[in-house]
Amino acid sequence: MRIYFFTEQPYPDAWREDVKSLRVNIPNRECDPRVAADLFHRHQDEWCMADELGLDIMVNEHHATATCLTSICTITLGILARLTKRARILTLGMPIANRVDPVRIAEEFATIDVISRGRFDMGLVRGVPYEVPLAPRSAVGHMDRFWEAHDLIIKALSTRDGPFDWQGEYFQFRNVNVWPQCWQQPHPPVWITANAPINIREVAARNYVQATFLTGFRTKSIFDHYRAACAEAGKPPPAPDRFAYLGLVAVASTKAEALRRAEQLTGYIRTSSIVADPFKTPPGYFSSPDAVRQLKANVVRQAETRDGKSVNIHSGSVQDLIDAGIIFAGTPDEVYQQIATFRDRAGGLGNLLAMCQGGHLPYKETTDSLSLLAKEVLPRLQADSAAMQKQAA
């Protein structure tokens, strides 16, 4: 089991009642660059501490939003590639269907892989709906464009006898010839977020890591599509390291303090969907049945608890969200138990993406939580993994 420490580098000063949309159309006058600089430095320090503690590192990117100051994940990773010593550094990820230049992405990725001497995990994502209004191309044909961008990036990173030309449906490039050559051969490991069966099959067919975010106890049914695809292809069952799950994590020496930290963390999920209506349903993003449902009624994202109770992930209480596997919070013993239960219920999980900072949680509490997670929770999960591997052998 690996644990990747993740924060979106949120900007909570702008999370005010009078700000009706925290994404897309929130003007950047709401962002004080001095505050932003402090936040960037602080989160770099947290990621470096995670590296020292034996955790791995995850970053992401969103655009025009007070929920996430990381607008270019590869800049953050470029800094971390040099500052950190041992951690895997993951982006999950690069929204490749929304970006215009996959070759530039390949160059950024190769550079990070080399600076980090092979510690880079290359996550590719479709991106949430409210990223589409900021993109030059619409969501029509989004997944086709995603896979063409993927194919081009993989070829650009894997080719050793370039240049080559690319004349696809969505992208056209002359003389593709990425320098430097990747450290990891033929290219860094690929991770992809996928929830829909049709996309999961594509991920499974390539033996990539499949990740899912905040899907709670539904996660097993999502991972099962990957397992089924492997079985159908006559491949052995996928190892736990093919699966990743993102949840919120708050650890403290007492339960009361951990719950207090969890409450501060939930600022992220309580604000992450605050966006002006028209940006929630970009045309072409959703399937026709989903689009029909949206016309009939506003759809609220639900999660399920272990015993099947439905929880609104944007307004549920901390306890509801713990029960639903969205938050892992408590003393080290409790958090270990919650994660182990979740891992087993998911049918195996090799990578926990731990959002340990979600807005208002201060530096001291964040690093204390990280420290407990690394020193008192991770070793037990790793011991479990070793035992399970031994058993399987």
Binding site: P133, R137, S138, V140, A276, P278, F279, P283, S288, L295
Partner: protein
């Protein structure tokens, strides 16, 4: 057929492997109605009044209504060639083309290529060419405005916009979603225009009438004059504003609009091509 609000006359035409849904009404001189980005919704009365003096053909554009999307269709240019094929396939001549908003854009893209089969052009609240400054869209971003506000901007009287989604069938709702998706397919970016169209409008020499709803707030007041001035067959004398109508005068003032179309077709004699 459900959803169209049209009692009859809806048929499917096969166009090189793509099923084209097309309404046909009336007899006489052929009239091609090209619907706006919201589809054929609300245009029944207008088509009925046009059909009193013409053979009206009102297709759903590729990707709209129940019409398929041919492979590789990404631009209004593609739709224009599709309709040039249709005019040839049905061997229509001396066609009066009436386009509303996004449909007017298609009409202009058709006409800059060739007017061999076109006698007159009527453009209703046209979009498709860029006249304004680079820092501002000529047309309000329909993908960025909440629906109640969008209705206020699009209609003189929002009663014309109201549709009860709760009581509609899934099939009809799917068409609304499909129309919205196809609007994005063709008009997302550059938003609602082809950067090349303005420099080509001089090629349209057939008699052209531009009409705009006086309450159209999707564009600045009088914005349609840019089109009238740029099209050789129009000119300042062929620009009309329709009172008590917004961006879709064919929905809000179908009778008056149809009367203007018929009068224009009778009065304006096409010059030899």
């Amino acid at each position: 057929m459900p959803g169209t609000g049209f009692s009859g006359g809806v048929q499917a035409v096969e166009m090189r492997g793509t099923k084209l849904e097309i309404i046909e009404r009336g007899t006489g001189k052929p009239l091609l109605f090209l619907h706006p980005h919201i589809g054929l919704h609300g245009s029944d009365a207008f088509l009925e009044k046009l059909a009193a003096e013409a053979r009206v053909l009102a297709p759903s554009h590729p990707g709209f209504g129940r019409t398929g999307v041919p492979a590789g269709f990404t631009s209004v240019d593609d739709i224009a060639y599709f309709y040039l094929d249709l005019l040839e396939q049905l061997d229509l001549r001396e066609v009066l083309v009436v386009g509303s908003s996004f449909g007017a854009w298609i009409a202009m893209e058709l006409a800059v290529k060739t007017t061999q089969r076109i006698s007159h052009l009527v453009l209703l609240d046209p979009v498709g060419a860029k006249f304004g400054p680079r820092e501002q869209s000529d047309v309000v971003d329909i993908f960025a405005v909440a629906q109640p506000r969008l209705h206020e901007l699009s209609f003189h009287d929002v009663v014309h916009a109201q549709r009860d989604y709760a009581s509609m069938s899934d099939e009809d709702l799917a068409i609304i979603a499909r129309n919205r998706e196809s609007s994005a397919r063709y008009a997302w970016n550059p938003y609602m225009y082809n950067p090349k169209l303005a420099q080509r409008l001089h090629r349209i020499t057939v008699p052209t009438l531009v009409m705009c709803g006086a309450s159209d707030r999707l564009m600045a007041p009088g914005w349609g004059r840019h089109y009238a001035n740029a099209i050789a067959g129009a000119g300042a004398g062929r620009y009309l504003e329709i009172a008590a109508a917004g961006h879709f005068p064919h929905i809000e003032q179908p009778g008056e609009l149809a009367r203007h179309v018929h009068e224009f077709a009778r009065a304006a004699v096409p010059t030899a091509a």
